[in-house]
Protein backbone atom coordinates (compact mmCIF):
# COMPACT_ATOMS: atom_id res chain seq x y z
CA UNK A 1 0.00 0.00 0.00
CA UNK A 2 2.74 2.37 1.07
CA UNK A 3 4.79 1.51 -2.00
CA UNK A 4 1.75 2.10 -4.15
CA UNK A 5 1.46 5.63 -2.78
CA UNK A 6 5.13 6.59 -2.54
CA UNK A 7 6.37 5.07 -5.81
CA UNK A 8 4.46 7.51 -8.03
CA UNK A 9 5.44 10.35 -5.71
CA UNK A 10 9.12 9.40 -5.89
CA UNK A 11 8.84 9.13 -9.64
CA UNK A 12 7.13 12.49 -9.82
CA UNK A 13 9.79 13.96 -7.58
CA UNK A 14 12.54 12.59 -9.81
CA UNK A 15 10.80 13.96 -12.86
CA UNK A 16 10.50 17.35 -11.19
CA UNK A 17 14.20 17.26 -10.24
CA UNK A 18 15.09 16.43 -13.83
CA UNK A 19 12.86 19.23 -15.05
CA UNK A 20 14.50 21.66 -12.62
CA UNK A 21 17.93 20.51 -13.77
CA UNK A 22 16.90 20.97 -17.38
CA UNK A 23 15.46 24.39 -16.57
CA UNK A 24 18.70 25.34 -14.79
CA UNK A 25 20.69 24.19 -17.82
CA UNK A 26 18.44 26.18 -20.12
CA UNK A 27 18.72 29.24 -17.85
CA UNK A 28 22.49 28.84 -17.92
CA UNK A 29 22.42 28.70 -21.72
CA UNK A 30 20.08 31.70 -21.76
CA UNK A 31 22.43 33.62 -19.45
CA UNK A 32 25.28 32.79 -21.79
CA UNK A 33 23.31 34.06 -24.76
CA UNK A 34 22.39 37.25 -22.87
CA UNK A 35 26.07 37.69 -22.02
CA UNK A 36 27.03 37.19 -25.67
CA UNK A 37 24.37 39.64 -26.83
CA UNK A 38 25.66 42.15 -24.30
CA UNK A 39 29.12 41.60 -25.71
CA UNK A 40 27.93 42.30 -29.24
CA UNK A 41 26.38 45.53 -27.99
CA UNK A 42 29.57 46.40 -26.08
CA UNK A 43 31.75 45.70 -29.11
CA UNK A 44 29.53 47.84 -31.31
CA UNK A 45 29.65 50.62 -28.72
CA UNK A 46 33.36 50.45 -27.91
CA UNK A 47 34.56 50.26 -31.49
CA UNK A 48 32.76 53.45 -32.46
CA UNK A 49 35.03 55.39 -30.13
CA UNK A 50 37.98 55.23 -32.52
CA UNK A 51 38.60 55.44 -36.24
CA UNK A 52 42.14 54.16 -35.88
CA UNK A 53 42.11 50.63 -37.30
CA UNK A 54 44.86 49.32 -35.02
CA UNK A 55 43.21 50.57 -31.80
CA UNK A 56 39.82 49.37 -32.99
CA UNK A 57 41.06 45.85 -33.77
CA UNK A 58 42.81 45.74 -30.40
CA UNK A 59 39.42 46.30 -28.73
CA UNK A 60 37.81 43.70 -31.02
CA UNK A 61 40.38 41.07 -30.11
CA UNK A 62 40.33 41.61 -26.36
CA UNK A 63 36.52 41.66 -26.28
CA UNK A 64 36.27 38.53 -28.41
CA UNK A 65 38.77 36.71 -26.22
CA UNK A 66 37.03 37.88 -23.05
CA UNK A 67 33.68 36.70 -24.35
CA UNK A 68 34.79 33.14 -24.95
CA UNK A 69 37.49 32.96 -22.30
CA UNK A 70 40.34 32.58 -24.77
CA UNK A 71 43.95 33.11 -23.72
CA UNK A 72 45.65 33.38 -27.11
CA UNK A 73 44.66 35.27 -30.20
CA UNK A 74 45.69 37.61 -32.95
CA UNK A 75 44.18 39.63 -35.75
CA UNK A 76 45.83 39.84 -39.14
CA UNK A 77 44.70 42.31 -41.71
CA UNK A 78 45.55 43.54 -45.16
CA UNK A 79 46.42 47.09 -44.10
CA UNK A 80 47.06 48.37 -47.58
CA UNK A 81 47.96 47.04 -50.99
CA UNK A 82 51.63 47.88 -50.62
CA UNK A 83 52.54 46.38 -47.27
CA UNK A 84 50.10 43.48 -47.46
CA UNK A 85 48.89 41.45 -44.50
CA UNK A 86 50.25 42.04 -41.07
CA UNK A 87 49.58 41.07 -37.47
CA UNK A 88 47.96 44.23 -36.17
CA UNK A 89 47.24 43.05 -32.66
CA UNK A 90 47.95 39.97 -30.57
CA UNK A 91 47.21 38.81 -26.99
CA UNK A 92 48.76 36.02 -24.98
CA UNK A 93 50.85 35.08 -27.99
CA UNK A 94 54.26 33.76 -27.13
CA UNK A 95 55.77 35.30 -30.22
CA UNK A 96 57.86 38.35 -29.51
CA UNK A 97 57.15 41.63 -31.26
CA UNK A 98 60.30 41.08 -33.25
CA UNK A 99 59.08 37.73 -34.56
CA UNK A 100 55.60 39.09 -35.18
CA UNK A 101 57.06 41.77 -37.39
CA UNK A 102 58.90 39.09 -39.37
CA UNK A 103 55.68 37.34 -40.24
CA UNK A 104 55.32 38.11 -43.89
CA UNK A 105 52.59 38.28 -46.44
CA UNK A 106 53.31 34.71 -47.55
CA UNK A 107 52.44 33.41 -44.07
CA UNK A 108 48.85 34.30 -44.69
CA UNK A 109 48.43 33.05 -48.24
CA UNK A 110 46.80 29.92 -46.87
CA UNK A 111 44.06 31.91 -45.19
CA UNK A 112 43.10 34.00 -48.18
CA UNK A 113 40.87 31.26 -49.52
CA UNK A 114 39.23 30.52 -46.16
CA UNK A 115 36.08 32.55 -46.45
CA UNK A 116 34.21 30.69 -43.68
CA UNK A 117 34.75 30.55 -39.95
CA UNK A 118 36.27 27.18 -39.22
CA UNK A 119 38.21 25.28 -36.61
CA UNK A 120 41.51 23.99 -37.85
CA UNK A 121 44.19 21.90 -36.22
CA UNK A 122 47.90 22.06 -36.80
CA UNK A 123 47.78 18.85 -38.87
CA UNK A 124 45.68 20.67 -41.47
CA UNK A 125 48.25 23.43 -41.57
CA UNK A 126 51.08 20.94 -41.91
CA UNK A 127 49.58 19.98 -45.24
CA UNK A 128 50.75 23.33 -46.54
CA UNK A 129 54.52 22.86 -46.77
CA UNK A 130 55.35 26.50 -47.44
CA UNK A 131 53.76 27.44 -44.09
CA UNK A 132 55.89 25.04 -42.07
CA UNK A 133 58.95 27.26 -41.99
CA UNK A 134 57.12 30.44 -41.05
CA UNK A 135 57.04 32.03 -37.58
CA UNK A 136 53.25 32.04 -37.77
CA UNK A 137 53.17 28.27 -38.06
CA UNK A 138 55.36 27.86 -34.98
CA UNK A 139 52.75 29.78 -33.01
CA UNK A 140 49.77 28.03 -34.55
CA UNK A 141 51.37 24.69 -33.81
CA UNK A 142 51.72 25.59 -30.12
CA UNK A 143 47.96 26.09 -29.83
CA UNK A 144 46.11 22.78 -29.61
CA UNK A 145 43.02 24.13 -31.31
CA UNK A 146 42.38 27.38 -32.95
CA UNK A 147 39.64 29.02 -34.85
CA UNK A 148 40.08 31.05 -37.99
CA UNK A 149 37.42 33.72 -38.43
CA UNK A 150 37.82 35.51 -41.74
CA UNK A 151 37.21 39.24 -41.98
CA UNK A 152 35.48 39.65 -45.32
CA UNK A 153 34.72 42.83 -47.22
CA UNK A 154 32.76 42.56 -50.47
CA UNK A 155 33.50 38.85 -50.76
CA UNK A 156 37.25 39.33 -50.33
CA UNK A 157 39.11 38.04 -47.29
CA UNK A 158 41.02 41.05 -46.01
CA UNK A 159 42.14 39.51 -42.75
CA UNK A 160 41.04 37.33 -39.93
CA UNK A 161 40.69 36.75 -36.23
CA UNK A 162 42.74 33.78 -35.15
CA UNK A 163 42.06 32.46 -31.65
CA UNK A 164 43.25 29.57 -29.52
CA UNK A 165 41.31 27.27 -27.21
CA UNK A 166 38.97 28.33 -24.43
CA UNK A 167 40.43 28.27 -20.92
CA UNK A 168 37.27 26.46 -19.84
CA UNK A 169 38.36 23.53 -21.98
CA UNK A 170 34.95 23.49 -23.65
CA UNK A 171 34.93 23.01 -27.42
CA UNK A 172 33.72 25.71 -29.77
CA UNK A 173 30.15 24.83 -30.66
CA UNK A 174 28.33 25.97 -33.77
CA UNK A 175 26.67 28.83 -31.90
CA UNK A 176 30.11 30.08 -30.83
CA UNK A 177 31.31 29.98 -34.42
CA UNK A 178 28.20 31.89 -35.51
CA UNK A 179 28.82 34.55 -32.88
CA UNK A 180 32.47 34.77 -33.93
CA UNK A 181 31.32 35.25 -37.52
CA UNK A 182 28.97 38.04 -36.44
CA UNK A 183 31.83 39.70 -34.53
CA UNK A 184 34.06 39.38 -37.61
CA UNK A 185 31.33 40.89 -39.82
CA UNK A 186 31.05 43.78 -37.40
CA UNK A 187 34.83 44.02 -37.48
CA UNK A 188 34.81 44.06 -41.32
CA UNK A 189 32.23 46.82 -41.33
CA UNK A 190 34.25 48.88 -38.90
CA UNK A 191 37.48 48.31 -40.82
CA UNK A 192 35.77 49.40 -44.02
CA UNK A 193 34.34 52.50 -42.32
CA UNK A 194 37.69 53.34 -40.77
CA UNK A 195 39.42 52.89 -44.11
CA UNK A 196 36.82 55.08 -45.83
CA UNK A 197 37.23 57.64 -43.05
CA UNK A 198 41.00 57.61 -43.48
CA UNK A 199 40.68 57.74 -47.27
CA UNK A 200 38.37 60.73 -46.93
CA UNK A 201 40.78 62.50 -44.61
CA UNK A 202 43.60 61.77 -47.08
CA UNK A 203 41.45 62.93 -49.99
CA UNK A 204 40.59 66.14 -48.18
CA UNK A 205 44.26 66.70 -47.37
CA UNK A 206 45.28 66.21 -51.01
CA UNK A 207 42.42 68.45 -52.11
CA UNK A 208 43.55 71.15 -49.68
CA UNK A 209 47.14 70.81 -50.88
CA UNK A 210 46.00 71.01 -54.50
CA UNK A 211 43.97 74.11 -53.81
CA UNK A 212 46.92 75.68 -52.02
CA UNK A 213 49.23 74.77 -54.92
CA UNK A 214 46.72 76.24 -57.40
CA UNK A 215 46.48 79.38 -55.29
CA UNK A 216 50.27 79.69 -55.12
CA UNK A 217 50.57 79.01 -58.84
CA UNK A 218 47.99 81.70 -59.56
CA UNK A 219 49.77 84.11 -57.24
CA UNK A 220 53.07 83.31 -58.92
CA UNK A 221 51.58 83.95 -62.38
CA UNK A 222 50.08 87.20 -61.17
CA UNK A 223 53.43 88.17 -59.68
CA UNK A 224 55.28 87.35 -62.92
CA UNK A 225 52.73 89.44 -64.84
CA UNK A 226 53.12 92.32 -62.39
CA UNK A 227 56.92 92.14 -62.57
CA UNK A 228 56.79 92.04 -66.37
CA UNK A 229 54.48 95.04 -66.38
CA UNK A 230 56.63 96.99 -63.91
CA UNK A 231 59.79 96.25 -65.86
CA UNK A 232 58.16 97.03 -69.19
CA UNK A 233 57.13 100.56 -68.13
CA UNK A 234 60.65 102.00 -67.62
CA UNK A 235 61.97 99.84 -70.47
CA UNK A 236 59.36 101.32 -72.82
CA UNK A 237 60.47 104.81 -71.78
CA UNK A 238 64.14 103.95 -72.21
CA UNK A 239 63.55 102.29 -75.55
CA UNK A 240 61.21 105.07 -76.77
CA UNK A 241 63.47 107.96 -75.81
CA UNK A 242 66.59 106.19 -77.09
CA UNK A 243 64.87 105.69 -80.43
CA UNK A 244 63.79 109.31 -80.43
CA UNK A 245 67.35 110.43 -79.73
CA UNK A 246 68.71 108.30 -82.57
CA UNK A 247 66.09 109.41 -85.08
CA UNK A 248 65.96 113.07 -84.09
CA UNK A 249 69.59 113.60 -83.10
CA UNK A 250 70.10 115.99 -86.00
CA UNK A 251 66.87 117.92 -85.69
CA UNK A 252 66.27 118.23 -81.92
CA UNK A 253 67.86 120.93 -79.79
CA UNK A 254 70.64 120.14 -77.35
CA UNK A 255 68.31 120.87 -74.44
CA UNK A 256 65.69 118.46 -75.76
CA UNK A 257 68.29 115.73 -76.19
CA UNK A 258 69.55 116.43 -72.67
CA UNK A 259 65.99 116.07 -71.40
CA UNK A 260 65.64 112.69 -73.20
CA UNK A 261 68.97 111.53 -71.71
CA UNK A 262 67.77 112.52 -68.25
CA UNK A 263 64.57 110.53 -68.68
CA UNK A 264 66.58 107.52 -69.91
CA UNK A 265 68.90 107.87 -66.92
CA UNK A 266 66.05 108.10 -64.39
CA UNK A 267 64.12 105.23 -65.92
CA UNK A 268 67.29 103.08 -66.00
CA UNK A 269 67.85 103.93 -62.37
CA UNK A 270 64.24 103.00 -61.55
CA UNK A 271 64.68 99.73 -63.43
CA UNK A 272 67.82 98.99 -61.40
CA UNK A 273 66.00 99.78 -58.15
CA UNK A 274 63.05 97.57 -59.06
CA UNK A 275 65.39 94.68 -59.88
CA UNK A 276 67.39 95.21 -56.68
CA UNK A 277 64.21 95.39 -54.59
CA UNK A 278 62.82 92.26 -56.24
CA UNK A 279 66.02 90.40 -55.48
CA UNK A 280 65.99 91.71 -51.89
CA UNK A 281 62.38 90.68 -51.34
CA UNK A 282 62.94 87.27 -52.84
CA UNK A 283 66.05 86.67 -50.70
CA UNK A 284 64.39 87.82 -47.46
CA UNK A 285 61.29 85.72 -48.10
CA UNK A 286 63.23 82.61 -49.01
CA UNK A 287 65.33 83.07 -45.88
CA UNK A 288 68.49 83.38 -47.96
CA UNK A 289 69.28 86.73 -46.36
CA UNK A 290 70.42 86.05 -42.84
CA UNK A 291 69.49 88.81 -40.44
CA UNK A 292 72.77 90.00 -38.97
CA UNK A 293 71.43 90.48 -35.50
CA UNK A 294 73.54 92.10 -32.83
CA UNK A 295 72.98 93.79 -29.49
CA UNK A 296 71.95 97.31 -30.49
CA UNK A 297 69.92 100.33 -29.50
CA UNK A 298 66.74 100.68 -31.55
CA UNK A 299 66.17 104.29 -30.41
CA UNK A 300 69.47 105.40 -31.93
CA UNK A 301 68.56 103.59 -35.18
CA UNK A 302 65.24 105.45 -35.25
CA UNK A 303 66.87 108.80 -34.42
CA UNK A 304 69.47 108.35 -37.17
CA UNK A 305 66.73 107.52 -39.66
CA UNK A 306 64.77 110.62 -38.68
CA UNK A 307 67.91 112.73 -39.11
CA UNK A 308 68.39 111.15 -42.52
CA UNK A 309 64.99 112.30 -43.84
CA UNK A 310 65.05 115.66 -42.10
CA UNK A 311 66.19 117.58 -45.17
CA UNK A 312 63.52 115.97 -47.32
CA UNK A 313 60.86 116.89 -44.74
CA UNK A 314 62.09 120.48 -44.48
CA UNK A 315 61.79 120.88 -48.24
CA UNK A 316 58.08 120.12 -47.89
CA UNK A 317 57.78 122.13 -44.69
CA UNK A 318 56.75 118.98 -42.86
CA UNK A 319 57.48 118.93 -39.15
CA UNK A 320 58.99 115.79 -37.70
CA UNK A 321 58.42 114.99 -34.05
CA UNK A 322 59.26 112.05 -31.85
CA UNK A 323 57.86 110.59 -28.71
CA UNK A 324 60.24 108.08 -27.12
CA UNK A 325 60.55 106.40 -23.74
CA UNK A 326 63.62 107.46 -21.80
CA UNK A 327 65.46 104.28 -22.46
CA UNK A 328 65.06 100.96 -24.22
CA UNK A 329 67.30 98.08 -23.30
CA UNK A 330 69.66 96.85 -25.94
CA UNK A 331 68.39 93.82 -27.77
CA UNK A 332 69.23 91.68 -30.77
CA UNK A 333 68.23 92.93 -34.19
CA UNK A 334 69.73 93.69 -37.59
CA UNK A 335 70.65 97.38 -37.45
CA UNK A 336 70.93 97.86 -41.22
CA UNK A 337 67.66 96.11 -41.96
CA UNK A 338 65.76 98.00 -39.24
CA UNK A 339 67.24 101.24 -40.60
CA UNK A 340 65.83 100.22 -43.99
CA UNK A 341 62.42 99.69 -42.31
CA UNK A 342 62.48 103.13 -40.66
CA UNK A 343 63.71 104.94 -43.77
CA UNK A 344 61.00 103.32 -45.84
CA UNK A 345 58.21 104.18 -43.42
CA UNK A 346 59.47 107.75 -42.92
CA UNK A 347 59.97 108.36 -46.67
CA UNK A 348 56.46 107.09 -47.40
CA UNK A 349 55.01 109.28 -44.64
CA UNK A 350 56.75 112.38 -46.02
CA UNK A 351 55.89 111.44 -49.59
CA UNK A 352 52.15 111.07 -48.93
CA UNK A 353 51.87 114.10 -46.60
CA UNK A 354 51.02 117.42 -48.25
CA UNK A 355 53.29 120.43 -47.61
CA UNK A 356 53.05 121.82 -44.09
CA UNK A 357 51.88 118.55 -42.53
CA UNK A 358 53.25 116.55 -39.58
CA UNK A 359 54.96 113.21 -39.18
CA UNK A 360 55.32 111.75 -35.70
CA UNK A 361 57.31 108.75 -34.53
CA UNK A 362 55.97 107.14 -31.35
CA UNK A 363 57.99 104.44 -29.65
CA UNK A 364 56.66 102.51 -26.66
CA UNK A 365 57.28 99.33 -24.72
CA UNK A 366 54.62 96.62 -24.78
CA UNK A 367 55.71 93.94 -22.34
CA UNK A 368 58.74 92.29 -23.90
CA UNK A 369 58.04 93.93 -27.26
CA UNK A 370 58.89 97.33 -28.60
CA UNK A 371 56.32 99.13 -30.71
CA UNK A 372 57.02 101.92 -33.17
CA UNK A 373 54.36 103.93 -35.00
CA UNK A 374 55.08 106.33 -37.85
CA UNK A 375 52.04 108.58 -38.12
CA UNK A 376 51.42 111.22 -40.78
CA UNK A 377 48.77 113.78 -41.55
CA UNK A 378 48.80 112.75 -45.18
CA UNK A 379 46.23 111.76 -47.75
CA UNK A 380 45.41 108.47 -46.01
CA UNK A 381 44.53 105.20 -47.61
CA UNK A 382 41.08 104.32 -48.94
CA UNK A 383 39.47 101.40 -47.04
CA UNK A 384 39.50 99.20 -50.12
CA UNK A 385 43.28 99.48 -50.39
CA UNK A 386 44.13 98.74 -46.76
CA UNK A 387 44.17 94.95 -47.18
CA UNK A 388 46.35 95.16 -50.29
CA UNK A 389 48.79 97.79 -49.12
CA UNK A 390 51.55 95.27 -48.37
CA UNK A 391 51.17 93.40 -51.68
CA UNK A 392 53.89 93.69 -54.30
CA UNK A 393 53.44 96.57 -56.76
CA UNK A 394 50.19 97.66 -55.16
CA UNK A 395 49.80 101.39 -55.34
CA UNK A 396 47.02 103.51 -53.98
CA UNK A 397 45.46 105.36 -56.84
CA UNK A 398 45.95 109.00 -55.88
CA UNK A 399 47.68 112.00 -57.35
CA UNK A 400 50.87 111.56 -55.32
CA UNK A 401 51.37 107.94 -56.31
CA UNK A 402 50.82 108.89 -59.93
CA UNK A 403 53.48 111.62 -59.88
CA UNK A 404 56.03 110.16 -57.43
CA UNK A 405 56.59 106.61 -58.62
CA UNK A 406 58.40 104.17 -56.35
CA UNK A 407 59.17 100.55 -57.06
CA UNK A 408 55.98 99.33 -55.39
CA UNK A 409 58.10 96.93 -53.34
CA UNK A 410 59.08 99.10 -50.37
CA UNK A 411 56.25 98.03 -48.07
CA UNK A 412 56.44 94.29 -48.90
CA UNK A 413 60.20 94.43 -48.15
CA UNK A 414 59.58 96.35 -44.92
CA UNK A 415 56.98 93.82 -43.82
CA UNK A 416 59.28 90.89 -44.63
CA UNK A 417 62.12 92.43 -42.58
CA UNK A 418 59.82 92.98 -39.57
CA UNK A 419 58.58 89.38 -39.88
CA UNK A 420 62.17 88.14 -40.08
CA UNK A 421 62.51 89.71 -36.61
CA UNK A 422 59.44 87.69 -35.45
CA UNK A 423 57.46 90.91 -35.47
CA UNK A 424 54.33 92.24 -37.10
CA UNK A 425 53.62 95.32 -39.20
CA UNK A 426 50.20 96.78 -39.77
CA UNK A 427 48.52 99.96 -40.92
CA UNK A 428 45.75 102.13 -39.51
CA UNK A 429 44.45 104.85 -41.78
CA UNK A 430 41.60 107.17 -42.57
CA UNK A 431 41.31 108.65 -46.01
CA UNK A 432 42.00 112.38 -45.99
CA UNK A 433 43.28 112.38 -42.41
CA UNK A 434 46.48 110.36 -42.45
CA UNK A 435 48.02 106.98 -41.76
CA UNK A 436 49.92 105.13 -39.06
CA UNK A 437 52.31 102.34 -39.96
CA UNK A 438 53.04 100.41 -36.79
CA UNK A 439 55.46 97.58 -36.17
CA UNK A 440 56.03 95.57 -33.05
CA UNK A 441 59.05 93.31 -32.54
CA UNK A 442 60.13 91.24 -29.56
CA UNK A 443 63.23 92.37 -27.73
CA UNK A 444 65.09 89.12 -28.09
CA UNK A 445 68.16 88.09 -26.23
CA UNK A 446 70.80 86.21 -28.17
CA UNK A 447 70.00 82.83 -26.60
CA UNK A 448 66.31 83.08 -27.57
CA UNK A 449 67.26 83.97 -31.12
CA UNK A 450 69.55 80.96 -31.38
CA UNK A 451 66.87 78.65 -30.01
Amino acid sequence: MTDDVTRPLIKENEQLKAQIKELERKKWELDKKIFELKVLYEIAKETTTTQDIRSMLKIFLSMTMGTFGISKGLIVIDQDRETGWEVVTARGVDLSEEVLQKITLNDFDLFKNLTDTCPMDSDTLAETPELLATPLYSWLKSVPLYIWVPIVIDGEVIGGICVGEKISGEPFIEENLNLLSIIASNCALNVRNAKLFQENIEKERIQRENEELKRLDKKKSEFVNMVAHELRTPLTSISGFSELMIKKADTKSRDALKKYSKIIFHESDRLRRIINDLLDLSRIRSGKVEMEKQMADLLSVIEMSIANVQLHAEKKKISLSENFPEKIDLFYFDKDKMTQVMLNLLSNAIKYTPDGGHVTVNVSLKGNDVQCAVTDTGVGIPKGDLSKIFEEFHRVNNEISRTERGTGLGLPITKSIVEAHDGILWVESEEGKGSSFIFRIPMLEETETED
Binding site: E42, I43, E46, I59, S62, M63, G66, T67, G69, I167
Partner: protein, 121 residues
Protein backbone atom coordinates in the same frame (compact mmCIF):
# COMPACT_ATOMS: atom_id res chain seq x y z
CA UNK B 1 27.25 58.99 -18.46
CA UNK B 2 30.82 59.39 -17.27
CA UNK B 3 32.79 56.20 -16.68
CA UNK B 4 33.82 55.83 -13.03
CA UNK B 5 37.56 56.09 -12.71
CA UNK B 6 39.49 52.89 -12.11
CA UNK B 7 41.45 52.89 -8.88
CA UNK B 8 43.35 50.30 -6.93
CA UNK B 9 45.28 49.70 -3.76
CA UNK B 10 47.77 46.96 -3.16
CA UNK B 11 49.65 45.44 -0.29
CA UNK B 12 51.72 42.41 0.40
CA UNK B 13 51.21 40.01 3.31
CA UNK B 14 51.77 36.29 3.91
CA UNK B 15 53.57 35.99 0.53
CA UNK B 16 50.36 37.25 -1.01
CA UNK B 17 49.90 40.28 -3.21
CA UNK B 18 46.47 41.79 -2.59
CA UNK B 19 45.08 44.10 -5.24
CA UNK B 20 41.81 45.77 -4.29
CA UNK B 21 40.16 46.85 -7.52
CA UNK B 22 37.83 49.83 -7.56
CA UNK B 23 35.61 51.07 -10.38
CA UNK B 24 35.20 49.61 -13.86
CA UNK B 25 37.40 46.87 -15.25
CA UNK B 26 37.97 47.39 -18.97
CA UNK B 27 40.93 47.10 -21.32
CA UNK B 28 42.14 50.50 -20.13
CA UNK B 29 43.01 48.96 -16.73
CA UNK B 30 45.38 46.40 -18.22
CA UNK B 31 48.49 48.53 -18.12
CA UNK B 32 47.87 49.58 -14.51
CA UNK B 33 47.08 46.09 -13.23
CA UNK B 34 50.16 44.59 -14.88
CA UNK B 35 52.30 47.45 -13.65
CA UNK B 36 51.25 46.67 -10.03
CA UNK B 37 51.81 42.96 -10.65
CA UNK B 38 55.29 43.51 -12.12
CA UNK B 39 56.29 46.07 -9.50
CA UNK B 40 55.93 43.38 -6.79
CA UNK B 41 57.56 40.60 -8.76
CA UNK B 42 60.85 41.02 -6.89
CA UNK B 43 59.14 40.03 -3.65
CA UNK B 44 58.41 36.58 -5.13
CA UNK B 45 54.84 36.40 -3.85
CA UNK B 46 53.11 33.06 -4.21
CA UNK B 47 49.48 34.16 -4.22
CA UNK B 48 47.60 36.94 -5.92
CA UNK B 49 44.30 38.12 -4.46
CA UNK B 50 42.07 40.22 -6.68
CA UNK B 51 39.35 41.81 -4.59
CA UNK B 52 36.16 42.72 -6.43
CA UNK B 53 34.14 44.26 -3.59
CA UNK B 54 34.36 47.74 -5.15
CA UNK B 55 34.12 46.72 -8.78
CA UNK B 56 30.96 48.08 -10.40
CA UNK B 57 31.32 46.80 -13.93
CA UNK B 58 33.47 44.54 -16.02
CA UNK B 59 33.24 44.21 -19.79
CA UNK B 60 34.54 41.45 -22.03
CA UNK B 61 37.80 43.31 -22.64
CA UNK B 62 38.19 43.51 -18.85
CA UNK B 63 37.68 39.74 -18.68
CA UNK B 64 40.45 39.38 -21.27
CA UNK B 65 42.69 41.33 -18.89
CA UNK B 66 41.90 38.80 -16.13
CA UNK B 67 42.57 35.89 -18.50
CA UNK B 68 45.93 37.43 -19.30
CA UNK B 69 46.61 37.63 -15.58
CA UNK B 70 45.61 33.98 -15.13
CA UNK B 71 48.11 33.00 -17.85
CA UNK B 72 50.80 35.04 -16.16
CA UNK B 73 50.22 33.59 -12.68
CA UNK B 74 50.12 30.04 -14.06
CA UNK B 75 53.43 30.57 -15.81
CA UNK B 76 54.95 31.68 -12.50
CA UNK B 77 53.17 28.95 -10.53
CA UNK B 78 51.31 31.50 -8.44
CA UNK B 79 47.80 30.99 -7.10
CA UNK B 80 45.09 33.37 -8.21
CA UNK B 81 42.36 34.09 -5.69
CA UNK B 82 39.25 36.14 -6.39
CA UNK B 83 37.45 37.67 -3.43
CA UNK B 84 34.06 39.34 -3.04
CA UNK B 85 32.78 38.85 -6.58
CA UNK B 86 29.10 39.71 -7.02
CA UNK B 87 26.75 36.92 -8.01
CA UNK B 88 26.73 38.21 -11.58
CA UNK B 89 30.53 38.41 -11.82
CA UNK B 90 30.82 34.91 -10.39
CA UNK B 91 28.42 33.64 -13.04
CA UNK B 92 30.46 35.27 -15.80
CA UNK B 93 33.75 33.95 -14.40
CA UNK B 94 32.25 30.45 -14.27
CA UNK B 95 30.88 30.79 -17.80
CA UNK B 96 34.20 31.64 -19.35
CA UNK B 97 36.15 29.14 -17.22
CA UNK B 98 38.05 31.60 -15.05
CA UNK B 99 36.98 29.75 -11.90
CA UNK B 100 38.92 26.68 -13.06
CA UNK B 101 42.15 28.57 -12.47
CA UNK B 102 41.27 30.57 -9.37
CA UNK B 103 39.84 30.08 -5.90
CA UNK B 104 36.86 32.16 -4.91
CA UNK B 105 36.35 33.59 -1.42
CA UNK B 106 33.82 35.88 0.18
CA UNK B 107 36.44 38.12 1.79
CA UNK B 108 40.13 38.85 1.79
CA UNK B 109 40.40 37.61 5.41
CA UNK B 110 38.76 34.34 4.48
CA UNK B 111 41.11 33.97 1.52
CA UNK B 112 44.18 34.71 3.66
CA UNK B 113 43.02 32.26 6.31
CA UNK B 114 42.66 29.52 3.72
CA UNK B 115 45.84 30.15 1.79
CA UNK B 116 48.02 27.54 3.49
CA UNK B 117 45.46 24.79 3.13
CA UNK B 118 44.61 25.55 -0.49
CA UNK B 119 48.23 25.74 -1.55
CA UNK B 120 48.94 22.37 0.01
CA UNK B 121 45.81 20.74 -1.38
Amino acid sequence: METPEFKFSSNLQKKTLIIELNGDITDSCEETIFAIYESHSASKFENLILDFSSVHYINSAGIAVLINLVTKTRQKEQHLIITNPSEYFLKIFTMIGLTRYSNIHKSIDEALANIGEENNS
